[in-house]
Amino acid sequence: MDVVYFAWVRERIGLPRETVETQAETVADLVAELRAREARYDAAFEDVSALRVALDQELSDFDAPLKGVREVAFFPPMTGG
């Protein structure tokens, strides 16, 4: 599964994109796996209420199932316009 990061999430984790081998059933499960890996992930995902998630480029939420998903993106609330 491809996992991509934007803005300060990308900066905290230190990379824009990685491929993750996971059996996580939901986004929240994936976040728990990532946080357990290393301090920089733990720091980036400390407050998920400050984060947004997109599954295959559609906005989604942290309860959503990952079955069939190829790309998960984590980022802060958008500030376009």
Binding site: Q57, F75, M78, T79, G80
Partner: protein, 146 residues
């Protein structure tokens, strides 16, 4: 419908005229443009990051919703990414309709959704700081009126 996500600068006036020509018969044209504002400490650069692929999909989806809901004759969205200096054009939307109310509401709807639903992030870089712009609760709240 004309949706562009680009690094290059654009000429808002030339875009307004081209949009107006393309929307012949509409009667009412509304445009919004967003300009890089200076900040305390003196802005060197505003860097805009986006999510290639998702950005185009999100903008197209928002523009389709606006077109259907307000019966717009034509819609344009241009949004830049990359490094911009003070007073540069960040983005522009335009709407065309037979009636002024629909043109105004369509443009305001586009902007409200674009602000909170299109994957862009702004970073303000001065001599002494580099801060991601934080989203405002009022931007999320603005969606509740639609």
């Amino acid at each position: 419908m004309d949706i562009r996500v680009q690094e290059a600068a654009f000429d808002a006036g030339a875009e307004l005229n081209a949009f107006t020509n393309a929307a012949q018969g509409a009667g009412a044209i509304v445009s919004f443009s967003g300009i890089v504002r200076d900040v305390a400490g003196g802005l060197n650069t505003m860097t805009i990051e986006h999510y290639p692929g998702m950005t185009e999909k999100a903008l197209t989806d928002i523009a389709k919703q606006a077109t259907d809901r307000f019966d717009l004759a034509h819609v344009m969205v241009i949004h830049r990414f990359g490094d911009l200096g003070p007073d540069e054009q960040i983005m522009m939307v335009a709407t065309a309709s037979r009636h002024r109310k629909a043109a105004f509401e369509g443009a305001a709807f586009l902007m409200d959704y674009l602000k909170s639903r299109a994957p862009f992030w702004k970073k303000e870089i001065t001599q002494t700081s580099a801060d991601w712009v934080e989203s405002k609760a009022q931007d999320e709240d603005a969606l509740s009126r639609w």
